[in-house]
Structures are given as C-alpha cells and as structure tokens.
C-alpha cells in the first residue's frame, strides 16, 4: 500500500481539512453504495476480518529493499470490492495511526490513496478475468495498476498541499515526489507478484471467495 509517510504537522491545516473532507465524501459514497446494493451482516463481518488480516500482514517484514511492509490493499479490493475496500482502507489507516505508523493528519489523504488502490485492483482484476486471463497475471497486473494509481495520488497530494517548513515547492518538489513515486512503483511490482501468488493460492483452495466456481475436470 502506498502511504504518505510524511510526519505529523507536515501538511498545513487547510490541506488536512481538504483531504479529510474528500475522504469523508468517498466513505459516504462507499456506505451509500453498500446500502443501495443491500448491506448485509456478512459484509460487515467480511470487511472487519479482511481489515484485521490486512493490518496483521502489515506486521510481517519482507526482506526486500531493506525491508518492506505490505498491506495488500489491492488484494482487499479484489476480495471485497471497491466500497468495502475503501472502508477497510480507512480502518487499517486508523489502526496504523494508533500504532504510530502514519500520521493522524494524513488519515484523510491516506484513506484516499488506499481507496484508489482497492478500487483499481478490483476493476482491473475483474476486467482481466473477464478476458479469461489466468489468476496470477490478472492479480499481479491489477495490483500494479491499482498501486500505480495510488502512488500517483500519493505523489500529487504533497505537491498540491505543500510541505510545511520546507521551502522547496512547485517543479522542484514535483521532481522529488516523482522520484518517490518511482520507488513506490518498484514496491508495487513486488506486491503485484506477491498478490498474484496469493490470488492463485486462494483460487486453488476457495475460488468462491473470488466470486468464481471451482473448475471440475472433464474426464
């Protein structure tokens, strides 16, 4: 999951308010969408469990690039859809902020990034599976696309907001954020490969969790 790791107080108050309001609007739309489509108790339990799994997986250190922590946001989107995925992204960000990972002032901004990744993962995976792509490449590409979109948003937010106390703005800041986005895209490829493996494993054990039925071999 792309995450704006700038420390607390790096955003001006107006930007904190702006991204928080936008995130609230996205969450309100997600709740509206869930209710419109018929919110059931199982959706709530499913969202909570997936959020717990995502938060727990984040605590495993992947020994790449000196250590990477993944939240598998795109996988969450693939499993529970964009609306519940946005809510899960918010909940995981709240729990992460309580752990000191992620600033409270960036809760709105990071929720927008997470929701983008979940939605991107879901829609690209659905489109590729619709074209009869195999699970591994479909999930890997969907994750890279979702995380890529999230990374671009992650880079854009500090450029729009500015960073308090840092005199670098405009084009110079854009160049710097572009470098950060490039690093994130590298991590997105790693997470894409991992998500591809995860989805392939889930498809082999419980294809119904992906909204699919088991393939019965014709003899």
């Amino acid at each position: 999951m792309a995450h704006i790791h700038l420390p607390e107080g790096a955003l001006p108050l107006w930007a904190v308010a702006l991204w928080s309001v936008l995130a609230a609007a996205v969450l309100a739309y997600a709740v509206y969408g869930l209710r419109r489509d018929g919110l059931e108790a199982r959706h709530v339990a499913l969202g909570g469990m997936v959020a717990a799994a995502s938060f727990a997986v984040f605590q495993v250190n992947i020994p790449v690039l000196g250590g990477v922590h993944l939240s598998l946001t795109a996988l969450v989107g693939i499993l529970v859809g964009p609306s519940l995925g946005a809510i899960v992204a918010f909940v995981v960000n709240v729990l992460s902020a309580l752990l000191g990972h992620g600033a409270w002032g960036f809760l709105g901004a990071n929720t927008l990034v997470g929701a983008t990744e979940a939605a991107g993962g879901y829609y690209v995976f659905a489109a590729l599976r619709g074209q009869n792509w195999d699970h591994f490449p479909a999930a890997a590409l969907a994750t890279i696309a979702g995380l890529g979109a999230g990374s671009l948003l992650m880079g854009a937010i500090p450029i729009v907001s500015g960073i308090r106390g840092v005199a670098i703005t405009g084009g110079d800041l854009a160049v710097y954020m572009a470098a950060l986005v490039a690093v994130n895209l590298g991590v997105a490829v790693i997470e894409g490969l991992l998500t591809g493996s995860v989805v392939r494993y889930i498809a082999s054990i419980r294809p119904d969790l992906l909204g699919e039925t088991a393939q019965v071999s014709q003899e």
Binding site: M49, A53, V91
Partner: protein, 270 residues
C-alpha cells in the same frame, strides 16, 4: 518470542500494558485521552520552530515515562518513523538554502547541508515522534473495552462495525500468521533469505491468512446470527463522561493552543 517484526509495535503487547498497567495515564478517562490526542495533532501542526516542537516532544515523552510505559521499546518503535522522516524529509533538507554546516563537492556542483536544513529535518522528526509517542501511550493505557466503546461511539455505522470486528480479530489473525511462520521455520523454510526464491511461500502464507480470516468471518457470523445478531454489534462497555478536573485540563490546553495560534503563530492578535 514474537515471530513478527520487532520495529512495529505488537498490538497484543500494547493491549497487555493497557489491561495490566496501573499508571497515572491508565486512570485518565478514555475520552480525555482522545481529546488530548486531537489537541496534540493540532499543536504539532501549528507549532513553529525547533524549540517549540522539542518542548512539546519532551512533555509528551515525560508523560509516557511517568506512566510506567517501556521507554527502551519505544526507541525500537521509533525506527519506522525515523526511517520515513529521514528518507522523505532528509533529501529535502539538502535543498534548503542557508549557512552550510557541511559541504561536499561533486562533478555537478556542491552538496551541502545547512543549519536551516538541519533545523527543518529535526523539526519534522520532532513533530512525528511526538504524536507517535502519544498515540502509543493512548493504546497502552486504554483498556480494550474502553477503546471499543470509543471506536463504537466515534465512527458512523457501518464503519464502526467494520472497525470493531477488525480491532477484535487483529489479535486472532496475528496468531494465525505467527503459527504459519513458526510452521514454515520448523520445516526448514526461511523468509529472510531472498524474496524471489520464497515468493510462492509468501503467497501461500498471506493467502492462507486471508482464507482463514474469511472462513473465520463466515463461522463467526453463523454463530452470532444464531444468537440474534442482525448487523449491529452492540457495545456494552461504558466510558463515563470525563470528570470535571480533566475537562478543565482539556479546556486549558485548548485555550493555550488557541492563544499560541492567534498571537505567536498567525499574529491575529498583536
């Protein structure tokens, strides 16, 4: 021994401190602690200058230590915030003009870190660590039932329901992951050798974690529905209104931050 990474706080350890501790912060009302958390975020956001930020950080750190919370572990938990500030804000500090502390010549010119750049870096670090310290203190001094009550009352439905499920089952899922990692190690597997060789292993571990999570949610839902659950996870714990003395402290802190913002920070009042 935890199988998980040591530089991310283990929620189970934090909750153990919350349930078993009896320090001064444990006795403060959960709503008061949440209000002060919001004030701390605002304070470090509007605070100007290294001295002011350092003062806030020292006060929060002193409160953390006085509460009987583990200071040495806190240093380990600072690893991630420190790395993030260094990686993200560190290079920016090199671009801030001013009086150089150190300058290194290279084929494209000169790379220098200025006093102004160093001040910016430490100010950002101080802001980040202040809120990290206080957030961890809140978790480690607020009982599980009180935390659940605050979450349930603060968030709208169904977000509160998802958050309550997530918070409760984070502990269960952590144990699932630890068991999988232990089983991997017991069979001669390793996650710390190289990623590419182990990518399928990682995929199976994380995939199995999600499958277990989803299966648990199905089982849990059936058992809850058998007991009358219809989509509303009722919170029976109760956190009373904060006592008057705590409300006074929150009011004083709010007034102090407001005064600082209006006079020193924004100069609205001369």
């Amino acid at each position: 021994m935890s199988e998980l990474t040591s530089h991310v706080p283990d929620p189970r350890l934090l909750t153990t401190y919350a349930e078993q501790g009896t320090g001064p912060l444990h006795r403060i009302n959960a709503w008061t602690k949440m209000a002060v958390l919001a004030l701390a975020v605002v304070a470090v956001t509007i605070a100007e200058g290294l001295l002011t930020v350092t003062a806030i950080f020292v006060v929060v750190l002193a409160a953390y230590a006085a509460a009987g919370l583990p200071v040495r572990r806190l240093v380990a938990w600072y690893t991630l915030p420190f790395v993030f500030v260094t990686v993200i804000a560190g290079p920016l500090a090199f671009g801030i003009p001013g009086e150089p502390i150190v300058a290194v010549s290279h084929p494209f010119g000169e790379l220098s870190i200025t006093w102004e750049g160093a001040t910016t870096y430490f100010t950002l670090l101080g802001r980040g660590l202040t809120v990290v310290t206080y957030s961890l203190a809140v978790w480690m001094t607020t009982r599980y039932a009180d935390m659940v009550h605050v979450l349930g009352r603060s968030l709208p439905t169904p977000i509160d329901q998802v958050a309550l499920f997530a918070y409760r089952f984070t502990f269960v899922i952590l144990e699932v992951i630890e068991a999988l990692l232990k089983a991997t190690r017991a069979r001669g597997g390793s996650l710390s050798e190289n990623f590419w060789a182990n990518r399928t292993l990682y995929g199976r571990i994380f995939g199995h974690t999600f499958i277990r999570a989803l299966e648990r949610s199905e089982t849990l839902l059936k058992s809850m529905q058998a007991r009358g659950y219809h989509g509303d996870l009722t919170v029976y714990s109760q956190v009373e209104r904060p006592p008057a003395r705590e409300l006074v402290v929150v009011a004083v802190l709010t007034a102090a931050i407001g005064w600082y913002a209006l006079t020193i920070r924004y100069g609205v009042i001369a």
